[in-house]
């Protein structure tokens, strides 16, 4: 909302208050000041000057060299490009040093001719003028006088009023608040009362939307432009003057906060009827748009059934005041906030009126605003108002007495605000302590309904600065969320330590991206959750897995030239677990992606692409102490799909992008992804077991190179080794793999795979012979169970 300081000053004395002070005053009253604009002539060095002579510039067709009298005792030479003046005109002259909002006028040469200042257009010195070119000032303006003194200047405050304070949505309301805060007097409103009332001429058929409606008929008005003072008021807050009647209704709205509407009486046949709209009724509004109404909406109609206005929102195109209007019917009413809000939102039609009605106007202001408008119309547009105001229904009573619990006040404020001061603040706000010890609340403060609302007012006016800070707190135990968070941070830090960048992707993805999802449990029809009204199809589905986001991030990075990618993300994914019914599952997972070069480029090593064993190693690093297995499991849309298994459970899924998908994202090599169940990972990664004692005696190792068919997997050999019961075998690890596609060193369909076996006894240091014996025993058993030989 725009607030003019000049306008405010008609109600409360703000002399000597700088814009900064007013900003602070409002800010700490809970009104956000978004912008402060100064209007009017900024500088004292802009003076009235008379043009005495104007001759053609010797070297520029479009410039003239003028001699002006700025009241300095001698003429001043200024080069000027304007054309709209004649010698003898008075114009604003910016003397050297005049500051036009950061631009300072100086003495200069224009095309070789000296120019000592600038003759100004209105817009250049913060004023408005209908003409282009120099601002021609009235002849009676005194030469040499600062222009500033001859025009109003104003401060415009752009404020944001919170929804609980509709009483501030007017200049009077804002002035009343400032008077309270400044402990300054508030000027009395000069509004004649109109007590005579009739009920004929208006029917309310929709009192749930419009419980109170008043109208005054004014005959014989002449519609014409408003006087300068009224135009100036409206223009100051950014409104365009239209005609005296419309301008007056706008003025009263911004003066008192009560929206009004003026109908052309000749367009109304018979009584005004306030009714709900018919389903599908079409209403053509002032903005020249047609709106299809519903039975929830309220229209102001007449006996003919035509909708003249959309109640509380906007007038109709055909029933408003125009130049030919002679009789007007002036509406002032109270509309139910929730109903106006509904209509306004549904039709996307918002006006200064609906803005105020949906927040709630002061029911007691309805008659007052009407009376002020009637007074102004008869003063400015002539005509005669009927003595009786048509008044139907009753202004709702929205306030009730409220008890202030002083004990609670003391508790909340730590006793820092005395009871006397609290009472003084409430009194200044217009509340009144009644005989039963309760506070009567004025009609314009319907937001004050409860004890705590009064406390809020006291604290707001007093300021939180007055309440001393207290540093203390109750001890509470850590929650399961704390433990999970700590486990997650350890995993995050481990991955960052392993060279991974943590990503954060948006949780709403597109339908297409769902194909990139790699959840532990494959998705079925109806498993994804879609928002009803997405902002765009790119963000329509809650991610069922974290991999789509990571793949999109990889794509982005590959496109910008990243050669090596190590990415991970941790967070929630979503799934409809009810087979189409709304049974939503939210769980957390860890997704990891690697692509590109294994190591960032080095000067002494050849670059190598990552392969699946790199990602497997990373997964293993998440669970030291647990053997990770990849159990092949086909994944639609992926290659090398596998379940990640450890400690006998499925922890997540593993896959490579298909070569086709890989090409789509411009990756030059394979891209591997894994999605791990974070809940399981947290449990397994917690070190809860007792530690193992260190071996007392040294172990011995023996290497064995096994020649086996290509098809024999490491897992088959490990499984066979696991079955052999040799008490001295303490462990084994695969340390070499060799194959020769040319068939020269080894038949092409065979491979050599080497293991290092460790032998150890818990009782003694083993002798060579004992180790050899045990080792040979193992080799013999292996050769029996597998199609292998030893090299």
């Amino acid at each position: 909302m725009n607030v003019s300081l000049n306008w405010l000053s008609t109600h409360v004395d703000l002399k000597g208050k700088s814009p900064e002070e007013l900003d602070a005053l409002l800010t700490f009253a809970g009104v956000e000041v978004e912008d402060i604009k100064l209007s009017g002539v900024p500088s004292d060095k802009i003076v009235v000057a008379q043009i005495k002579e104007a001759v053609q510039h010797p070297d520029a067709d479009k410039l003239k060299v003028t001699q002006v009298d700025a009241g300095e005792g001698q003429l001043r030479q200024i080069v000027c490009g304007a054309k709209n003046y004649k010698v003898g005109d008075k114009v604003p002259c910016c003397l050297p040093g005049a500051d036009l909002g950061g631009f300072v006028i100086g003495e200069t040469k224009m095309r070789g001719v000296e120019s000592k200042g600038m003759l100004a257009a209105a817009s250049e010195i913060g004023l408005t003028d209908e003409e282009d070119g120099l601002m021609i000032l009235p002849e009676d303006f005194e030469i040499g006088k600062p222009v500033k003194e001859l025009f109003d200047h104003d401060v415009l405050l752009e404020v944001e009023v919170t929804p609980n304070r509709p009483d501030l949505l007017s200049h009077y309301g804002m002035a009343r608040e400032m008077a309270t805060l400044l402990e300054a007097p508030l000027a009395e409103l000069d509004i004649p009362s109109r007590e005579a009332i009739s009920t004929a001429g208006v029917r309310i058929e929709a009192d749930e939307v419009c419980p109170f409606y008043t109208a005054v008929r004014i005959s014989g008005v002449s519609v014409k432009p408003s006087p300068a003072w009224l135009k100036q008021r409206l223009e100051a807050i950014g409104l365009r003057p239209i005609n005296n009647i419309v301008d007056i209704t706008n003025f009263v709205l911004h003066e008192l906060g009560q929206p009004l509407h003026a109908f052309d009486a000749s367009k109304v046949s018979g009584d005004l009827v306030i009714r709900t709209a018919k389903e599908g009724e079409v209403f053509k509004a002032l903005d020249e748009e047609s709106y299809t109404l519903e039975t929830e909406d309220c229209v102001i109609s007449d006996e003919s059934g035509t909708a003249l206005a959309l109640g509380g929102v906007m007038g109709g195109l055909d029933s408003g005041v125009s130049e030919g209007t002679t009789d007007v019917i002036l509406e002032s009413a109270y509309f139910t906030p929730s109903r106006i809000r509904r209509t306004s939102r549904r039709t996307a039609l918002m006006s200064d009126s609906s803005y105020r009605f949906e927040r709630g106007v002061d029911p007691a202001g309805v008659a007052k605003a009407s009376a002020l408008a009637v007074k102004l119309i008869t003063e400015l547009a002539g005509g005669t108002a009927e003595a009786e105001t048509i008044s139907v229904g009753a202004a709702p009573e929205l306030t009730q007495p409220v008890t202030l619990d002083l004990g609670r006040l003391d508790q909340l404020t730590g006793g820092s605000i005395s009871h006397d001061e609290a009472a003084a603040i409430l009194t200044r706000l217009g509340l009144n302590l009644n005989d039963s010890g309760q506070w009567d609340v004025p009609s314009f403060r319907a937001d004050l309904q409860r004890h705590i609302d009064l406390v809020e007012e006291i604290v707001r006016v007093k300021g939180l600065d007055a309440i001393p800070s207290r540093l203390r707190g109750t001890f509470v135990p850590a929650s399961s969320v704390d433990h999970d968070y700590d486990a997650d941070m350890r995993l995050r830090e481990r991955l960052a330590g392993l060279g991974f960048h943590e990503c954060q992707t948006i949780k709403l993805i597109s339908d297409e991206q769902v194909a990139d999802a790699l959840p532990l449990k494959p998705l079925r029809e109806g498993d994804t959750i879609r928002v009803s009204l997405p902002l765009s199809e790119d963000h329509a589905v809650l991610r069922p897995s974290l991999t789509p986001g990571l793949i999109a991030s990889a794509e982005r990075n590959i496109r910008q030239g990243a050669s090596s990618l190590r990415l991970f993300e941790m967070g929630r994914f979503f799934r409809n677990a009810g087979g189409g019914k709304a049974k939503d599952l939210e769980a957390e997972s860890l997704a990891i992606l690697i692509a590109g070069e294994r190591q960032p480029g080095n000067w002494d090593t050849a670059t190598q692409h990552v392969d699946l064993y790199d990602l497997k190693a990373i997964v293993q690093a998440m669970l030291p102490g647990h053997a990770i297995q990849l159990n092949p499991r086909e994944r639609e849309g992926f290659a090398l799909g596998a379940d990640i298994q450890a400690a006998g459970q499925n922890l997540g899924s593993f896959a490579m992008l298909t070569p086709a998908r890989q090409r789509q994202i411009d990756a030059s090599g394979p891209v591997f992804i894994a999605d791990l169940d974070l809940g399981k990972l947290r449990k397994l990664s917690a070190v809860t077991h007792e530690i193992q004692d260190l071996p007392q005696f040294p172990g011995s190792t023996r290497d064995v190179a096994i020649e086996a068919p290509e098809s024999l997997a490491n897992a088959d050999i490990e499984k066979a080794l696991g079955k052999i019961k040799e008490p001295l075998l303490a462990g084994f690890e695969c340390f070499d793999l060799f194959s020769d596609p040319t068939g020269e060193k080894l038949s092409a369909d065979r491979k050599s795979i080497a293991y290092r076996m460790t032998y150890r006894s818990a009782e003694k240091t083993l002798k060579t012979k004992q180790v050899d014996q045990a080792h040979q025993g193992i080799l013999d058993q292996l050769a029996k169970s597998l199609p292998i030989s030893f090299r």
Partner: protein, 338 residues
Amino acid sequence: MKDQIQSTQTEALAQIEAISDFRSLEDARVGILGKQGSLTKLSAGMRDVAKEDKAEIGQLLNAARQTITASLDAKKEALQSEADAKALEGIDLTLPGRSVHHGSLHPLTIIRHEAIGILRRMGFALADGPEIEDEFHCFDALNTPEDHPARNEKDTFYFDSGKLLRTHTSSVQIRTMEGGKPPVRIIAPGSAYRRDEIDATHLSVFNQLEGLYVDADVSLGDLKGTLEYFLQEMFGSETEVRFRPHFFPFTEPSFEIDVKLHAKGQAPKWIEVAGCGMVDPDVFDSVNGNRKDEAYSPAGVTGFAFGMGLDRLAMIRWGIKDIRLLIENDTRFLKQFA
């Protein structure tokens, strides 16, 4: 014999002196002191030495062995230091180090961890709740009337089921109070959703940090002290903090909190960082209604709540001008947090 010893020693020393590699040195050692070595052979001649001369010759032999051994050791050391020096010759210290991957935590994780760290020191425990919420927990229980603008489907993501994506983490307040009795002292970081078009300052999915403290006698002084302390830990102990009265449906009184930011090359300015307030008694009543008890009777407990945008904190901390950088995961951006 004496002469032989002398000449063997002289010869040996000369031989050792001339050696320039480890292998020759070892050969020389064997050739002089080994089983068939020249001095060893000479020692064998002791058998033939007259008994009265044995002591003297023995001493001479021992002295020769010691001298030669010392010479061998000295030579070995000399050769070793020569080799050591040679090994370091020609190394280019100016070549770049071998590259390794430098990983990083996401800036939001960093700022969240820092905020959580401060609040945990102050005795807050973590809590969370679902992101797919119902209207009761997201709005009704938080005293937000049915026709409140935030509940419009233009501003909030709804599902056909009638559920919605929570518009703030404040729903966790309700979940926590429903699940346990006072005292409650929790913080809840998490995602929230609003139907905002994504641009340089808006995301439709953003990150908040919620806080709630409910106990007997929680006051405005506690609210103020807690948040001042938190923000000064976050932004520096000299940071000015101000509380502007504001309006939220679920707190009364309510405030917005600004900190005065001194960015390099800019005039200091107040920046809004959080909203807070005393828990509205209506919120306690809603919770009691759902709990079917009076554990949170407004007559018995009071509390404060606060919420802040973590994305915003990250933008302020690192001067991030476009919020989209936080979800694009461009590694050129992420690497700056390594």
